[in-house]
């Protein structure tokens, strides 16, 4: 046994430390993979496992019942209305807040974020208290024979509420970061308002806009709590797909039907995630 020089001792110490770090890394990575497999991957896989428990024919039979098809159709209509409206809203908010200074600007930013932090159930109840029979606008609506609650307009309104911040919160930070020099230059050169937006602003924010729209659509398709308050939940009429899933599950928890319906929403979620990952790399989001 030779005695180690000081240099060798330092090197050995560093070597041991690095080996220790590698061991820690391996343990932590393994822990992360195992917990994620149990917590997140398992539920996702289980949906498809149960949906295809009776093979593809059983799956198709479950999906193509008239009530489930109607629920899918209703969900598509709601999403098709909600997403463009909230894209337009997101652009308006971003333009007003990022390009101008006015009193209450900070407050407006906070208010736009509210739907993100409160329970959809609260949204549903608020709409009921406003538009319901005993609600503040109830008598007026009855007089003019306007139906909002327990029908399509109510479902759309609550979904608009729940998904309102999604586009704004993607586009606004980007427009703030980009600044307004280019747009001001365009105005100075004689561009009209819509030309400035179309040719200067839009190319810079289009990916963030698309990204926000994807998130908005994913949320709109899956909205449950708020819609369950205002939809009236009539199968084949006002049941959206998430509500239909609950109905099918409560009718018979062992059948394929609920899982087959849920699998369509799961696939939409996965497509949205893939789109999000692709857009992340383009729009430079973290």
């Amino acid at each position: 046994m030779t005695v180690m020089t000081a240099q060798e001792q330092v090197a050995a110490g560093r070597h041991a430390a690095m080996a220790g770090e590698r061991r820690t890394a391996r343990v932590l990575i393994a822990l992360a993979l195992v917990t994620t497999a149990f917590l997140i991957l398992a539920p996702l896989v289980y949906i498809f496992w149960r949906a295809f428990a009776e093979g593809t024919s059983g799956y198709w039979a479950a999906i193509t019942t008239p009530e489930t098809l109607h629920a899918i159709w209703l969900t598509v209509i709601v999403t098709v209305v909600v997403v463009p409206v909230n894209v337009a809203f997101g652009i308006a908010v971003a333009w007003a807040i990022a390009r101008f200074r006015f009193p209450g600007r900070g407050l407006l930013m906070t208010i736009v974020e509210i739907p993100f932090s409160i329970s959809p159930i609260i949204a549903g109840i608020s709409y009921l208290l406003l538009y319901g029979r005993q609600g503040f606008l109830g008598p007026f609506l009855r007089e003019h024979d306007i139906t909002i609650l327990f029908a399509l307009p109510g479902i759309i309104l609550v979904t608009l509420f729940v998904t309102a911040p999604f586009v704004a919160r993607e586009v606004l930070p980007l427009m703030l970061a980009k600044g307004s020099e280019q747009e001001e230059a365009a105005v100075t050169l004689g561009a009209r308002g819509w030309q400035v937006f179309r040719y200067v602003t839009l190319p810079g924010i289009r990916w963030a806009l698309l990204y926000g729209a994807v998130l908005c659509a994913a949320r709109a398709v899956g909205e449950f709590g708020g819609v369950s308050v205002v939809s009236g939940r009539v199968a084949g009429q006002t049941n959206t797909l998430p509500l239909q899933i609950e109905l099918l599950y409560n009718e018979m928890s062992t059948s394929v039907a609920a899982f087959a319906a849920a699998s369509t929403l799961t696939m939409i979620a996965i497509v949205a995630l893939i789109a999000k990952t692709l857009l992340d790399s383009r729009s430079g989001h973290g």
Binding site: E246, T266, L273
Partner: protein, 282 residues
């Protein structure tokens, strides 16, 4: 007045101020503010005595206790899971890292009803997890653990996504300096890294808590909804509506709204601290 105008004018070279702000204010009023004000007026309008009576009824208090307990435990679980995931995703290179990163967003993308359905059937006695757990004498579905699992699942991304960017921005020189000065890995973590990520971490936990307290879709599937035992506050509000007890519903919704707004305020404070820390560090 002229001074104020002069200060504002130069900023308004760009067109569209009236149009964009007008649209925004109209939309925000109709879609967000007026409904919430209706809830506040309705909840506050029933008078103090009745308000207190509804809030302090055993069923309401039980529901609030179940909600806060389950949400708090779910938040603690997510605090540690989120920290682990943020650490592993930013610090280590391994195969499947990008996929694991993308999977963190699944609970946001997946509709809550689907999450509820999947978790309930997974933990039911016929499910993959429920069978073995039941054999070991652990009841998850229709019990508090089920509510906790549903809340944990739906709020997974908050802590991960709050801590991740801060860890990425952290100057590696700080850690190397600590190491050179003889700090053990644990000392480096607790004395150098933890203080830097603390505001973001706590901010993520606050949002996670807010989300868990408001969660409805996933919980109603798994909870069994037994009054006094597994009935959460948002479900009780929903049940009151079904009974046409609009006052009862609006009072419970109002309490949940106040909780949510308070947590939003706290998380904003943490965000400001976190932003200040990040700017100061550069």
């Amino acid at each position: 007045m002229t001074v104020a105008l002069a200060r504002i004018r130069p900023k308004r070279v760009l067109p569209g101020f009236a149009l964009s702000l007008g649209t925004t204010l109209l939309y925000v009023s109709v879609i967000i503010l007026i409904p919430i004000i209706a809830l506040m007026i309705s909840g506050a309008g029933i008078g103090w005595d009745r308000f207190v009576r509804i809030v302090t009824s055993t069923r309401t208090l039980d529901a609030l206790r179940v909600t806060v307990t389950a949400a708090a435990i779910a938040t603690v679980i997510n605090a540690f899971y989120g920290l682990l995931m943020a650490w592993v995703l930013t610090r280590y290179e391994f195969r499947g890292r990008a996929l694991l990163d993308a999977m963190m967003d699944i609970p946001f993308a997946l509709p809550t009803a689907v999450a509820g359905l999947a978790l309930t059937s997974l933990f039911a006695s016929t499910g993959w997890f429920g069978g073995p757990l039941e054999a070991a004498g652990i009841q998850v579905v229709y019990a508090l653990p089920g509510i906790i699992i549903a809340m944990t699942f739906t709020s997974v991304p908050f802590v991960v996504r709050a801590v991740q960017p801060v860890l990425e921005d952290l100057d590696p020189a700080l850690e190397e300096a600590a190491k050179t000065l003889g700090a053990t890995p644990w000392q480096t973590f607790s004395k150098v890294i933890l203080p830097a990520i603390l505001p973001a971490w706590l901010g993520g936990c606050t949002v996670s808590m807010a989300r868990s307290m408001g969660e409805f879709g996933a919980v109603v599937f798994i909870a069994g909804n037994l009054p006094g035992k597994t009935e959460i506050a948002s479900l009780l509000a929903f049940i009151r509506l079904q009974e046409y007890d609009y006052r009862g519903a609006s009072v419970i919704a109002l309490i949940l709204l106040v909780f949510a707004l308070l947590l939003l305020l706290v998380s904003n404070l943490f965000q400001i601290r976190a932003a200040r820390y990040r700017e100061g560090g550069k």
